[in-house]
Symmetry: C2
DNA sequence: GTCTATAGACTGATAGAC
DNA sequence: GTCTATCAGTCTATAGAC
């Protein structure tokens, strides 16, 4: 990626792009801490060490900054996702993926805060969060269906598959929130317990 | 309750108390929609049909109103909780309890939004939410331990019990959030699937 | 008990100098 | 590209009339 475009090399845009990344990174932590409504562009600008006007110059508006933040979150999430595994292996590796998430508290805090805030239809991130959940559930459903097709687990109806992937998502979200509220929460063990028991249930056909 | 104190009967405080209840009820929906940071006392006052000064007269400050809202939420939650069942039956009835919660979207929205917002230690509701989770987990742990003692399920270590009650809590929170984002989510079926499978695992000793 | 008026701080956003 | 200065609007909270 660092070849043809030249955006990461020396050039007229270099400092501007650095600044942009710096602002987005800071905005992630501030929106994570105070939510979108509670986090002001002045607070973000102060932490970066620039004026709030500079920030608006880069992103046009506060909502423009939110869009950039959500895109960056999306980018980093996709980057950390599992692309080399399919079927049941995808679920088997969820505990380690979740554990890796804990290294970046800000990102988890951002998603937890924004997802809850955006449950209201009027929130600027409402559509984004809805789509994100739909996509995530669909990905999980595809992998579970693959496991069924491969004979790794007993057959499941589409309705049952939806319940299963919603439960997996709920566990990841809920345990994440509990870890934010109490860092002594054993995230890895909890998710492992859930996944192991669930795969056992899928395999035996005792649903 | 409506006898000796006279607070619900005719008297000098009657209208004041009615107003207070009305304000708290409206504040629950507004804080649920916009969060504590995003929901202003002016928005609440407008919906009630009074000036914002009246509201501050009653609760002293915005944080005072939040305290009243959290107390009311606590009160209603305790009221709807299961006090007549113990041990495994407590878990067996969680699906119906959760389903009943869906009749009051505002209350669920409030808790989801505030819990996420309050994950930041600086939030005025941080201590309240932390205590609430600790208490809730302890209650669940007591019921599970009772089930163990009664021989309803195979033995569990304290660490295993903590994981189990955290998973139950995570499922309830996570499925609630998904329902807020997409009301077609089958909350009852999801929670029933989880509880049935979990009780089966506890009973068989295959953990 | 509720109102209007107002203080004082903070909000997002814009204009224009450098 | 970043700044200062400033705008209009909103915020929480208080004072004082009725």
């Amino acid at each position: 990626m660092s070849g043809s475009t030249g955006t990461t090399a020396r050039g007229p845009y270099r400092t501007g792009i650095r600044r942009r990344e710096q602002i987005v990174a800071t905005a992630i932590t501030v929106f994570g801490e105070y939510g979108f409504a509670g986090g002001s562009i002045r607070t973000i600008a102060d932490r970066v060490g620039v004026s709030h006007a500079t920030l608006l110059q880069h992103f046009g508006s506060k909502e423009g900054l939110l869009t950039a933040v959500l895109q960056e979150w999306d980018r980093r999430t996709v980057e950390a996702s599992l692309t080399d595994v399919a079927g049941l292996d995808y679920f088997r590796r969820l505990p380690e993926v979740m554990t890796a998430h804990l290294n970046n508290r800000g990102l988890l805090e951002l998603f937890t805060t924004i997802a809850a805030e955006a449950s209201s239809p009027a929130h600027p991130a409402h559509a984004f969060i809805q789509r994100r959940y739909t996509d995530n559930l669909a990905t999980l459903a595809t992998h579970l269906q693959q496991a069924v097709d491969a004979g790794e687990v007993a057959p499941l109806t589409p309705a049952e598959i939806e319940i299963e992937v919603r439960l997996v998502t709920a566990v990841l979200d809920g345990i994440g929130l509990q870890w934010l509220l109490d860092s002594s929460t054993d995230v890895t063990a909890s998710v492992e317990t859930y996944i192991n028991r669930t795969i056992a249930a899928w395999s035996s056909g005792h649903r």
